[in-house]
Symmetry: C2
Subunit: 246 residues, 2 copies
Amino acid sequence: MQGYDKHAYDKHAYEPFAVTVDLAVFTIRDGALHVLLVERGQEPYAGRWALPGGFVLPDESAESAAQRELAEETGLADVTGLHLEQVRTYSEPDRDPRMRVVSVAFAALVADPPEARGGGDAARAAWLPYGPGAHRPLAFDHDRILADAHHRIGAKLEYTSLATAFCAPEFTLGELRGVYEAVWGAELDPANFRRKVVGTPGLVEAIPGAARLTGGRGKPAALFRAGTATALHPPLLRPASEGRSA
Amino acid sequence: MQGYDKHAYDKHAYEPFAVTVDLAVFTIRDGALHVLLVERGQEPYAGRWALPGGFVLPDESAESAAQRELAEETGLADVTGLHLEQVRTYSEPDRDPRMRVVSVAFAALVADPPEARGGGDAARAAWLPYGPGAHRPLAFDHDRILADAHHRIGAKLEYTSLATAFCAPEFTLGELRGVYEAVWGAELDPANFRRKVVGTPGLVEAIPGAARLTGGRGKPAALFRAGTATALHPPLLRPASEGRSA
DNA sequence: GCAAAAGTGTTAATAGTACACCCATGT
DNA sequence: ACATGGGTGTACTATTAACACTTTTGC
């Protein structure tokens, strides 16, 4: 606390910091993980894709700012209830060439978002497939932010019920499994997945009516709703791959 | 990015934010988890305990500021190599009654710290036992920050090799087990713990020499060093208690 | 019929739990 | 001797992983 007291909060004792939020908004499309990106119209990084975001206003928290931006950028009317979670804060002094910007990064999960429209500005917005694909490199340090957000989401799938946040209110277990597979980039055994999910109390609850849904070909699947549990015990671990230190 | 471009980075378009770091520094003492706290000498919250922290300077990142504060507050000469990790950022507009302060919280783990000395100021500093004990309530929103930091540490013990960061370079498995027990507040079976730890590749490595250490009474214990692995597969789950949703 | 996805069954391997028991040391 | 913590053994249970097989749909 020395720092606090020594300078007695002179508002201009230090160079002011701008505080912004950056959003990594994920969704599943056609079985693949997609992320919402905007195209920058101005320097620096003109023409590059970037994460949506904006300033934190004087009377709101970073969480409020993130929620406001999420509504604006996705075009969703009601954004409450969506999963929105802080990832971490990026504060390297030179991360923005123009001035000192400290950015609080959030990860958001959306099911079935509307098509991306550019913001009011000239900037384009689009849902692009996540991965080492066409959109890199992103502006600023957004590649790193996006990777951190993805890493966090992947980890939380293991030990929380987060996956249901990617799904519509009613979903099949095949769809839920698709979430895990899209985020982890790994295939799961459908039989074992079903047993694990159904056998974890509070993860999902079956919709009792003969309600069934045809997902195209194959046998109709039973519908489920998200359950009340948030933590999974034991966790649903992703298949071990060479990449993970034992 | 609309927000960025619209205002063209006028440094004074918005009320300036102060950016600070707050540190939850943990250690194990006499088998119990302790936290480093400082006593506030001034209003607001004069006389209350608070987390150590301070301003982020114009040319440093939050990580650098946290490292600098950690060295100052603990009195440790070399703070590199210590575990220091961002927890989250607290930005509610009214969290500090004097002005708008956005604080990036860190959790730090220290083995065998020197006695706490007050900072240069009148403020006292002390290692206090963690828990719903004598030090609450803390100043500002520090109770919540501390709880969040503790929750994060506890969770990371399950699936990372973090526990070794609480230990000296050479440690016995009893000491390592003590870390888990102190952070989780639960007892672990020594036999099963040993098998799990030794059987997880890369978690710890035995120091081959007949090196042994007497921890007082009982059979001398073999010494171990931290291994190279950072992730644990499968994780070392804490014993299930009623509090956790199945 | 055939492909595809849902859903059930079965089995072997792996991992976790709960102990009993011996070992080496200080007092 | 005995209390204390280190360390090994072992039987039991729970969970995971792999894969065969049946069911119900669209084409």
